[in-house]
């Protein structure tokens, strides 16, 4: 099987690759979102804890 045959998927290339592209996009997004969110949460919590300790003093 040649590379161009593989890409064309027997004429169904557009369907197969758009399906794979979409699925991979959604899966990757679902890894990126919690990674970024974690940074945001940690930053917010740091500020929260600092504000708490300031109040205690």
């Amino acid at each position: 099987m040649s590379w161009s045959e593989f890409i064309s998927m027997g004429g169904y290339g557009g369907y197969v690759w758009s399906a794979y592209g979409f699925a991979i996009f959604v899966l990757v997004i679902n890894v990126i979102i919690p990674m970024r969110r974690r940074g945001v949460v940690l930053k917010a919590l740091r500020q929260f804890i600092v504000s708490q300790t300031v109040q205690e003093k």
Binding site: Y12, Y15, L27, I29, V31, V41, L42, F48
Partner: protein, 245 residues
């Protein structure tokens, strides 16, 4: 008791942190081998040609869309009955991931339907009940987001999730109960699958890969959700404090 020990957010947090990298590596390995097998090794389907290769995404994500829902509802029930904080966090973390799998199922199914059925969409039982599943996930997230107090939000969303469980057997049996364009199951728990091993093996690898993927991303979400929930506690202050330096 080991369950009690790790159900406490304080112990769960570092445990999840240790598990995530291993689960992540396993996920990537399985999905890579599954994709390679599905795209390069599995033979061409004699009826559907190469278009059938969408099955390696569509069917595992459809299974996952239902599996994640059941986990979400079960965690919701656990949160309702025993007020387990970790269960509430789990249910909440399941929703966006389950919604993603449902969306992937609907979109890949639609893309597959166009060349095979000649249409992107039909309002038949299988497709409609899967679309309802997406709305249930979205409803769960919307309801949870609309209530400020986290415990009350979790309880309300859990009730919605439990009511929606009725949709799961409807999705599963829809191809048997109603006449539909959708093809019947290729793999069933009872009886031999109607699919050749050369196609079944990559399908199951993708399914296990998706399960590991789910475990990875759900733990990632639960970890920071727990920090937020427990922000008044000493252990969170310690965790955040050491991270700050």
């Amino acid at each position: 008791m080991i369950y009690k020990k790790y159900a406490s957010p304080k112990n769960f947090y570092p445990l999840a942190g240790r598990l995530i990298p291993w689960l992540g590596v396993l996920t990537v390995l399985l999905l890579a081998v599954g994709l390679y097998w599905g795209l390069f090794v599995a033979p061409t389907d004699y009826q559907q040609g190469e278009s059938y290769r969408i099955i390696f995404l569509h069917v595992p994500s459809a299974w996952m869309s239902m599996f994640v829902y059941v986990i979400m509802a079960a965690a919701g029930a656990l949160g309702l009955t025993w007020k387990t904080k970790l269960a509430e966090v789990l249910a909440s973390a399941c929703a966006p991931i389950g919604a993603s799998f449902t969306l992937v199922t609907l979109v890949t199914g639609s893309i597959w339907g166009k060349p095979m059925w000649g249409t992107w969409w039909v309002w038949d039982a299988r497709l409609t009940s899967e679309l309802i599943l997406l709305f249930l996930y979205i409803g769960f997230m919307a309801l949870e987001a609309s209530i400020e107090e986290p415990r009350r939000a979790a309880r309300a969303a859990a009730v919605l999730a439990l009511v929606g469980v009725v949709n799961i057997p409807i999705i599963h049996f829809s191809v048997e109960w109603w006449n539909t364009l959708h093809q019947p199951a290729s793999v069933s728990k009872l009886g031999a699958p109607s699919i050749h091993p050369s196609m079944l093996v990559p399908l199951l690898m993708m399914f296990i890969g998706f399960k590991l993927y789910f475990a990875t991303v759900v733990l990632m979400r639960m970890r920071y959700a727990i920090l937020e929930r427990e922000k008044h506690t000493r252990w969170v202050a310690e965790v955040v404090g050491t991270k700050a330096q």
